[in-house]
């Protein structure tokens, strides 16, 4: 569901992520480094900020102290000349204010009749500091400071805010012995500018560092991954059968040793495969030779046996019987030899298909025509159920006929004189033949073993049909050659069904069969 709704690019990206170690290593390293770099950067920034602010506070305090001394001196000098306290404090304020304008701080003085105090500056003095001085009017000359937000206005009159430091001191006006609190407002914009600069520098350094780490990781993983990818490609080619493929070994490092071991493995594999191929070739050759060497004398014996068999009427009864036995056993011997050679041809992989479009119904009818004598001999009846339309599949007609003949004769053998039904069906994907008998059936687990070579359901059972025990094994090999299915179903006492399914076109994958494996009549019993 998710995979279907994902856009193509994202899916490709995910695939790349899953397949590339390099991408995963680079991304995870960069992510981890980013976390560390951010933490370190943040810590540095805080340290620098702290240091800068502390310095600024110390400078501000010393400047205020200096200013206080100067203004007290000024007041002391004016003592006696001025008696109006208001005027004196006004002068005092003016003098500090003018020095503040050159040095970059604002001044607020509280108390009666202070007219020159800028309203915005007054707002900038925090209430906590004002309360502090309200409660301790007596502790003169004791300065106190705190951080605050400075309210000011730009040239156009818009209000602005910036962080700052406010320092308060108490001044005794000599004229009327009144105490007035003076607040010095120092902006922290210099500190802020410095901090911004440091921040930019740290950010740039962090980004560059991350890029460096990414590039480094990419390079490092590339050095590891490239040989692995090469090895993968060579392994794929080896797997595809190009056994002479080898890795190039350079240097003596771990990767070079890996390559050496890999090459050794490939060499050993190649040698083993060559040996097996040689063995297989020798065996095939042997089978072919045995075939030729056995067949020629067997032909002679066969001809001689026939001549004797033809002339048996002139023999005494025992010799006649011997001639008959010779004849029937030669038949068996010959069938067995033919089957054995066929099986060995399959084992050698030498069996090839001669494909053509075949109507399965025609083949079934032809096979049943040729098994009529066996049918009569075993006192059973074979009926065909086939649709009117032809059941076409691409098949090797010789092999297909052999499969069906094997299935039908096997069914007749085990039918116990009950009816044998051959059903044919087809759709556009596949064609199928099912051969159903109502004989002894198969015990549990036997439906897979019936295709084993020389397997017999009951070893004690009399071998009446003279089957070689290879018929179903050959039928299975023939079916596999077509890419088809050959399956057996059976129940004790209810008979068995063998189903052959062939794809409509050879090599097309089979997904279903047009016929059920378990026959309808038996399925009801099971239910």
């Amino acid at each position: 569901m998710v995979g279907q709704s994902l856009p193509g690019a994202l899916r490709r990206g995910l695939t790349f992520w899953r397949r590339s170690i390099q991408a995963r290593v680079v991304v995870s390293t960069v992510l981890l480094s980013a976390i560390v770099v951010t933490a370190v950067g943040w810590f540095l920034l805080r340290q620098v900020e702290q240091g800068l602010v502390d310095d600024r506070v110390a400078a501000v305090l010393s400047e205020v102290a200096n200013e206080n001394v100067q203004s007290e001196n000024r007041l002391a000098a004016a003592l006696g000349t001025e008696t109006d306290g208001l005027q004196q404090s006004q002068d005092f304020f003016t003098s500090i204010n003018s020095s503040g304008q050159t040095r970059g701080f604002h001044v607020v003085m509280t108390g009666r009749g202070v007219s020159a105090t800028v309203k915005r500056d007054v707002e900038s003095v925090p209430q906590s500091l004002i309360r502090h001085f309200d409660t301790r009017q007596d502790t003169s000359a004791q300065a106190a400071w705190t951080f605050t937000t400075l309210h000011s206005s730009t040239a156009r009159g818009a209000p602005t805010e910036q962080p700052g430091i406010v320092v308060g001191t108490v001044v005794l006006i000599p004229a009327d012995q009144s105490k007035r609190t003076v607040y010095y407002l120092f902006p922290l914009d210099e500190v802020q500018k410095t901090l911004a600069l440091v921040e930019r520098a740290l950010l740039t350094a962090g980004v560059l560092l991350l890029l460096l780490i990414a590039a480094l990781t990419w390079l490092l993983t590339r050095q590891i991954v490239t040989p692995i990818r090469l090895a993968r490609r060579v392994a794929e080619r080896l797997a595809a059968g190009q056994l002479q493929e080898r890795l190039r070994v350079t240097g003596e490092d771990d990767l070079a040793r890996l390559a050496t071991s890999f090459n050794q493995m490939a060499t050993n594999l190649q040698r083993q495969i060559r040996q097996l191929e040689e063995l297989s070739r020798v065996q095939r050759r042997f089978v072919s030779d045995v075939s030729h060497e056995l067949r020629t004398p067997l032909t002679t014996v066969r001809l001689a046996g026939s001549v004797l068999h033809e002339a048996r009427d002139g023999f005494d009864p025992e010799t006649r019987r011997a001639a008959e036995l010779l004849q029937t056993e030669l038949d068996r011997f010959e069938t067995l030899l033919v089957d054995l050679l066929e099986i060995s041809r399959f084992d050698a992989g030498a069996a090839v298909l001669d494909l053509d479009d075949v109507n399965l119904t025609d083949v079934v009818r032809r096979v049943i025509d040729s098994t009529r004598s066996l049918e009569e001999q075993r006192n059973t009846r074979v009926t065909v159920r086939a649709p009117e339309t032809p059941c076409i599949a691409e098949a090797d007609v010789r092999r297909l006929e052999r499969i069906i003949r094997n299935l039908v004769t096997n069914a007749i053998d085990h039918a116990e004189s009950r009816e044998v039904v051959v059903t044919v069906a087809a759709d556009d994907q596949a064609a199928a033949v099912a051969v159903r008998d109502h004989g002894v059936g198969l015990a549990t687990g036997e439906s897979a073993m019936v295709f084993n070579r020389f397997w017999r359901a009951d070893p004690a059972r009399a071998r009446t049909s003279g089957g070689t025990g290879l018929g179903l094994a050959i039928a299975l090999e023939d079916t596999h050659l077509h890419g088809g299915w050959l399956q057996a179903w059976g129940k004790p006492g209810e008979g068995a069904q063998f189903r052959l399914t062939l794809p409509r076109y050879a090599g097309m994958p089979l997904r279903h069969s047009p016929l059920p494996l378990v026959p309808d009549d038996a399925a009801e019993v099971v239910a």
């Binding site: 072919s288 075939s291 030729h292 067949r295 020629t296 004398p297 067997l298 032909t299 002679t300 014996v301 066969r302 001809l303 001689a304 026939s306 001549v307 033809e310 010959e334 030899l337 050679l341 041809r345 030498a350 090839v352 001669d354 053509d356 479009d357 075949v358 109507n359 032809r366 040729s370 076409i392 007609v397 010789r398 006929e401």
Partner: protein, 237 residues
């Protein structure tokens, strides 16, 4: 080919080329019992000379021979005569059989065979197809003189072996009918049971290579896919 001569004088002559002495002797016993005359040759390089001297009606040819291989012998005989050749092969593999048939053999028997089977094959080759019917047939540009066993294409004689001739006549007699390979095996080769349909395929190819202008695009012997073969429409003319 009168009944009288067939009974008295005409014993069909079979040339047996096989290196296995016992088998050859056994074959000659069986063949004599069945009313044939047999001559044995053990080496491949002596086969052609014996063929010239003995003038057989059928050649039984083993594929593995000392001196010269059966395939080569087959080609040599076919180069100068249309005498039926039946191969004796120990291998049923496609390649061996097809190579044998393509080098000119008419039929083959796989060892070990039953005597009846062999005799049926030989009889089918020796027998002349004298089925009643038109003496002259026409398929496309071909004129077939059935009695005279000759075929002409636009007046030019075409050399066919007796088997190829029988195959052509069989198709030409019923140009409206599609013959399955099995029916052709029965009517031309004399098989009563289903046999190897490659026989038909190979000989149709050989026949086409002699009578068609372009054997890749046949006009006289047509393939009906999934069924078999039929003669090209003679109604064209």
């Amino acid at each position: 080919m009168d009944d009288v001569t067939q009974a008295e004088d005409f014993r069909a002559r079979v040339l047996v080329v096989d290196d296995d002495a016992s088998l050859s002797e056994m074959l000659s016993i069986v063949l004599r019992q069945e009313g044939f005359d047999a001559h044995l040759v053990e080496r491949g390089d002596e086969a052609l000379e014996a063929f010239h001297v003995y003038k057989p009606d059928v050649v039984l040819l083993d594929l593995m021979l000392p001196g010269k291989g059966g395939i080569d012998v087959c080609k040599e005989i076919r180069a100068e005569s249309g005498v039926p050749i039946v191969m004796l092969t120990a291998k049923g593999d496609t390649i061996d059989v097809v190579v044998g048939l393509e080098s000119g053999a008419d039929d083959y028997v796989v060892k070990p065979f039953k005597p009846k089977e062999l005799v049926a094959r030989i009889r089918a080759r020796v027998r002349r197809n004298d089925a009643p019917g038109a003496d002259s047939l026409t398929v496309g540009p071909l004129n077939i003189d059935v009695a005279g066993h000759s075929v002409t294409r636009d007046g030019q004689p075409v050399g066919l072996t007796p088997l190829e001739f029988d195959l052509l006549v069989c198709l030409a007699r019923k140009p409206w009918q599609v013959f399955t390979r099995e029916v052709l095996l029965e009517q031309v080769w004399g098989y009563r049971h289903a046999a190897d349909t490659r026989l038909v395929n190979v000989h149709v190819q050989r026949l086409r290579s002699k009578i068609e202008i372009d054997p890749e695009n046949p006009e006289i012997v047509l393939t009906v896919r999934g069924v078999g073969y039929k003669a090209g429409t003679s109604g064209q003319q």
